[in-house]
Subunit: 207 residues, 4 copies
């Protein structure tokens, strides 16, 4: 087998594999919300009341949905800058996908126990690990410049890597610690991170 | 990084991501239907009776299945007219996918409580929000003409946007309100919307 | 918009959508098999016995797994012969996917009630409807020859359509009726149909 | 239909189908971990304790996650060497996917019964069958050289096939038998196999 084929992955298949996982996670999140059981099947009042009771599940679902979309955007952006996929990139990507695929669990947990300090902190810890995987991938690329497309500005990329550490793992850990004051404050931070990345001006800074 | 690469997404990866979500939703819908528990495992009569009892679940599944297929067709048609995917399109698409990924929940709810007025209305409200996301995407494109392929007739597109508001969010809200008369009438409206879009003459008007 | 773009779908996106559904169904089948609950967590004997008790679930899973693979092969073969995807093909394909996405339900049902005559018959009825969707798609193509690639031999295709009716819906209905003699005989027929299509000589006749 | 089109599959669609299954399995693994039910919803201590109690589920999930990633890498590598997909390759691939799609079941079982000898052994048996499917595919290719791309070194490929038998089915059976000494030793072997394949020097030997 040709030497230059060893250790190099087909970028397209890794993107398909990753996109599949993103699509599944985004869809599975809603499966954690079960239709509530009510005593009088025909009563609209009971149904509305039971939905209001599980409203934290809807909020945690929406936060996680947009967070996964933001991760997808960042993933898409990062991979567009790669010329090839090395072994290192593949396994750092797998490490990232590990945490992404885990998201339904902490999401369901804050939906079930919205007032639990640890549940709110745990969500932030997992998201922080996910964001860390992203930053590690960027750091790896900074050290292996040949992975980047020639059109990419290396200094901007290195600068973006620093930003990705601050607005990623660090901010999620801050959100996680704030749960000690009140769990709802943590949700606010998590929602803020997602919203912050949705607007292009923000992501432009990072890119 | 080259300036013209910023803020523009790879159309292909967004289609793969969206198609993945469509495929998963269409498949997950049936998972909400559980095999009924019967007392005498060998009794065909008991099994048939138990299936008839859960028949509303089958009806709601079929309506949602074809509705998702119709959404897929519209999504496919719309994206075929796009020359590029801007940030705005991406997040309006994410907003659309949010409601699409939510469909199994209201579907399961009308399957569980077919005679509940609120369950029938809720289904229509969610579908209306989904259809609204579609219309918003079209309105955004009308205001950002450069997104359209040059082969697309702009006047027809603008006209189609008006139709999409009427036959989308407006009609679903009408269906939702009709539940106050009787929930089954709502199902009729929802089924009608799906069937209406299946026939090409209808979609041709819109396109 | 150019007239020749109306009513024609991108073959690639429909294949991706269909492949997604096939992949999900094949994977979800196993989710219906739950880890049995045993009294003594450390007892190997209890665990083995409990697995033997749910062995019909494993058998129904394997039959359905290979049946879905066979459907995938037939779908792949059929679509390779298409030059374009018309509205008719799209909705007949959606009708096919409806039944394919339903397969986990009858599979779980024969796994739960292996000795129930109606469960065995029901599986065959659903598979028969699925196979009918396939035959309808072929009949539609026979009537709309322009859909076929020019390299395809039309007479062979028409002949294959006749075979597809016999070895598809008809044989599944036969298997369904045989359940009146004994449910296990039906499983034999269903397994036979899957195995028959696995060997190339068989599918060559049909193609 | 042209003779050379019979019995040959589109490599791209089989990769998409397989990638879909890989992505779904990797994601579904985490669904087997349910949020524990605690008595005092607001108690962080109770939540932490309940998570520690289900820690074997997290460990089995991580082992299976990386194992599926390793399988994906091997699958990707193997298919990159194929010039075409014959009927034989397709069905050996289906046989491989059967065991891959089954992985959530033995994973959930060792998560539920970490101290059960049979659960630990069963995991190894299933993985062994999966690895056997891989080796069978390689043996088939050794006997049908025309499937390989001309750039592939045949002697290296044949040598790699021998290695794949040793480091695949044989090692998993060894891990399975070791459960008779202690189930935890088996987990160690399973984790070792996954880690061994993550590092490129190892896979280079096999390739």
């Amino acid at each position: 087998m040709k030497k230059n084929m060893i250790g190099i992955f087909t970028k397209n298949r890794i993107e398909t594999f990753s996109d599949g996982i993103f699509a599944i996670i985004v869809t599975l999140l809603v499966l954690e919300i079960k239709v509530p059981v009510i005593e009088t099947p025909g009563s609209s009042t009971q149904l509305i009341e039971s939905l209001i009771k599980i409203s934290p599940k809807f909020i945690s679902w929406i936060i996680s949905f947009f967070t996964v979309c933001v991760i997808w955007v960042n993933h898409h952006r990062l991979f567009k800058m790669f010329r090839l996929i090395s072994h290192g990139i593949f396994w750092l990507n797998a490490f990232l996908l590990l945490w992404i695929s885990f998201i339904p669990f902490p999401t369901a947990m804050i939906g079930d126990y919205p007032d639990n300090v640890f549940a709110a902190a745990f969500y932030g810890i997992i998201m922080s690990l996910m964001a860390l995987a992203f930053s590690l991938m960027r750091i790896y690329v900074v050290r292996n410049r040949s992975i980047l497309e020639s059109a990419v500005n290396f200094d901007e990329f290195r600068q973006g890597t620093v930003y990705s550490i601050i607005f990623g793992p660090v901010l999620y850990i801050v959100g996680s610690c704030i749960s000690l004051v009140h769990p709802y404050l943590s949700f606010g931070v998590y929602a803020f991170i997602a919203i912050y990345f949705i607007f292009p001006h923000a992501t432009k800074d990072i890119e």
